[in-house]
């Protein structure tokens, strides 16, 4: 996609993120921080990846900053002290998509992700939770249970690497469908406990729907798509709005009609909270640059 076709908010967002970047390509979690944060760095790298030719040099610099932190086994972790917190690996795979310079790093990250399984164990009839504990998706933290959001992020990453039909990806989608709340939507990854349905969360629902698009019939997520349509136009926080827009565009093949207004109003509210997380601003930039969905945007930009 050329820069001329980008949503007008994308350059604004990238400019805002540029003020939070360090010369080595890494990024601060928020203005005023003194140390780079991997979540901010990798999300900014992805946003720049979709930012058009004008951002090519910055994109390479940011992607290189992520690659420098990649471990020998392919993972990218939140910090050196916490190698088990490997959720940035999925975003790194997306950020490195289509860049020959980072192809080896991307391949190793994909291999790492495919080798990972969230903790899983036989179902117990006495368990108060209804999720299928035998299915394995991906955890937030190594050697713990699979949850909805890291599983969805891994699925997006694997799909971008043409591994969307890998058995691990199919099992990951089964995990997500198993965790769907009966009345629609997802939360962190539990649907029913002690006989009661739990509540969905907009940010979780948008992310999971974005990951299921293209592989799951709409009939299997009908109530969740209705929930998305109900909450998405009202979202004015970058995390929930960003994933709502990406889910919308992935399922509809077109940007949400309210996208530009919602992004503009969300940015106008930033001072209310001090500042937004850099990673969330980058997510919003990604959503603005992906009117036909994240995976389509990556393919078009390659």
């Amino acid at each position: 996609m050329s820069a001329a076709l980008l949503d007008p908010s994308t350059p604004v967002l990238l400019e805002s993120l540029a003020h939070r970047a360090l010369p080595d390509g890494s990024a601060l979690a928020r203005p005023g921080e003194t140390e780079a944060a991997m979540e901010a760095t990798v999300w900014r790298a992805l946003a720049l990846r979709l930012g058009g030719a004008a951002n090519a040099a910055s994109s390479r610099n940011a992607s290189a900053a992520v690659a420098r932190q990649q471990a020998a086994d392919g993972r990218v972790s939140v910090s050196d002290l916490h190698p088990g917190a490997y959720s940035p690996t999925s975003i790194a795979i997306l950020a490195w998509h289509g860049s020959p310079e980072f192809e080896d790093a991307r391949r190793r990250a994909v291999a790492f992700l495919l080798a990972q399984r969230g903790d899983h164990f036989p179902r117990s009839a006495a368990s108060p939770v209804t999720v299928d504990t035998e299915l394995a998706g991906w955890p937030w933290i190594e050697r713990t249970f699979s949850w909805a959001e890291p599983t969805a992020m891994a699925l997006l990453a694997l799909d971008s690497a043409d591994e969307g039909d890998h058995p691990r990806a199919r099992e990951g989608r089964a995990v997500l469908l198993d965790r769907q709340i009966a009345t629609g939507g997802w939360n962190y990854g539990n649907s029913r406990v002690f006989g009661s349905d739990l509540r969905p969360a907009p940010e979780s629902t948008g992310l999971v729907l974005a990951a299921l698009a293209g592989h799951t019939p709409a009939t299997k997520v009908g109530a969740s798509l209705q929930y998305l349509e109900a909450f998405a136009p009202a979202m004015r926080t970058p995390l929930a709005l960003g994933w709502a827009l990406l889910a919308w565009s992935a399922w509809r093949g077109a940007a949400a009609p309210f996208a530009a207004t919602a992004i503009h109003e969300t940015l106008a509210r930033e001072s209310r909270y001090g500042s937004y997380e850099s990673a969330d601003l980058a997510l919003l930039a990604v959503a603005a640059a992906a009117p036909r969905g994240l995976l389509a945007a990556l393919r078009e930009s390659a």
Binding site: E39, A85, R143, F194, S196, A201, R236, T237
Partner: protein, 338 residues
């Protein structure tokens, strides 16, 4: 760093024994000076009343003086798990946060800020809006810190009740002097009740512990509660029981007005008193039973309870027999804890 003891200080066995001895001594009748931790139960009919003078009076009752607070940088840690429209009984009410901030500022605090790392939600900004707390933060010019996504620093796990050798805390804890647990009076389907001690789960960054804080679940929920409290050692607790939650808490239960704020500087003592308000024997809540004599007392005669009498505010909270953690509280034949 104001709280550099987090990194360097690990209490010796002698210190811990001495702390236990104070509780024991305080429990003895006829002491010239009552050393038992003071816990104040204050009435507050609704969130519409001015809660700041109620909290200021409660602070005086528990011995909190301007000299203790003056110049301190204080982190208020409310309980924001998740939100649902019209269900204000899930979270610490924003008016309690406002009142606590103003009351501590009036005692001379150098800065009062608010921090939380919701256990179920990653969009903390959205939770702030949905809960009504965002507007209070704006009105009172209170800085908010998303503890889930703060950079962490590792410290030795002082408690060592779980298998965790170290804990990773959000960096803001190294920059402040006091932690105030601003909890909600609720039942809890895994631990029986969630009060001031359990509320500190929200200090632990999701970036390192997950959503929910699954690493802590794997390490042991009750043990992790003890470890966090032993390591960060909060200075004050305020439990919002104006409207609490009974039944299938901490999310899906129903609103239960109890009309109280429970305040104190020793968290096990505060939680034990709050549990008694709910009609729950604190000795049957495992983490409280385990905290007794170590982190603080829970026996009624080891706590100097002031303000309203427990009998006058007793509000039995409904427990759910099919929930094992509740059954352990209901079953008079069983020992402590689920």
């Amino acid at each position: 760093m104001s709280r550099d003891w987090l990194v360097t200080h690990r209490p010796s066995r002698r210190e811990l024994l001495a702390a236990g001895a104070i509780f024991a001594t305080g429990a003895l009748a006829g002491c010239k000076r009552d050393l038992r931790p003071r816990v104040c139960v204050a009435r507050a009919a609704s969130y519409a009343v001015d809660l700041e003078p109620i909290l200021r009076a409660a602070f005086r009752e528990v011995g909190l003086t301007p000299g203790m607070v003056s110049g301190k940088r204080i982190l208020l840690k409310p309980n924001l798990v998740e939100t649902a429209s019209g269900e204000g009984h899930i979270n610490t009410h924003p008016e309690v946060v406002r009142a606590a901030a103003k009351a501590l500022a009036a005692l001379g605090a150098a800065e009062v800020l608010v921090g939380e790392g919701p256990g179920h939600r990653r969009d903390t900004v959205l939770v702030l809006e949905e809960s009504g707390l965002a507007q209070i933060l704006v009105d009172e010019k209170l800085r908010f810190v998303d503890l889930n996504r703060q950079r962490g620093f590792a410290v030795a796990n002082v408690g060592r009740r779980s298998g965790l050798v170290r804990l990773t805390l959000p960096v803001v804890l190294s920059e402040i002097d006091w932690i105030v647990s601003l909890a909600k009076l609720k039942t809890h389907h895994w631990t029986g009740a969630t009060l001031a001690m359990k509320n500190l789960f929200g200090l632990m960054p999701g970036s390192y512990y997950g959503w929910p804080k699954n690493v802590l679940h794997y390490a042991g929920l009750q043990e992790s509660i003890l470890d966090i409290n032993a390591t960060v050692r909060p200075q004050l607790a305020i439990v919002d029981g104006i409207v609490g939650m009974e039944g299938d808490g901490p999310i899906l239960g129903t609103a239960k007005p109890a009309g109280v704020l429970v305040v104190g500087t020793n968290l096990p003592a505060v939680d034990a008193t709050a549990a008694r308000v709910m009609g729950i024997d604190p000795a049957r809540i495992r983490y409280l039973a385990d905290a007794a004599g170590w982190l603080g007392p829970i026996a009624e005669d080891a706590i100097h309870q002031v303000g309203e009498s427990l009998a006058s505010v007793l509000t039995p909270f409904q427990l759910v027999d099919r929930i094992p953690a509740h059954k352990a509280l209901l079953d008079k034949e069983s020992g402590a804890g689920y």
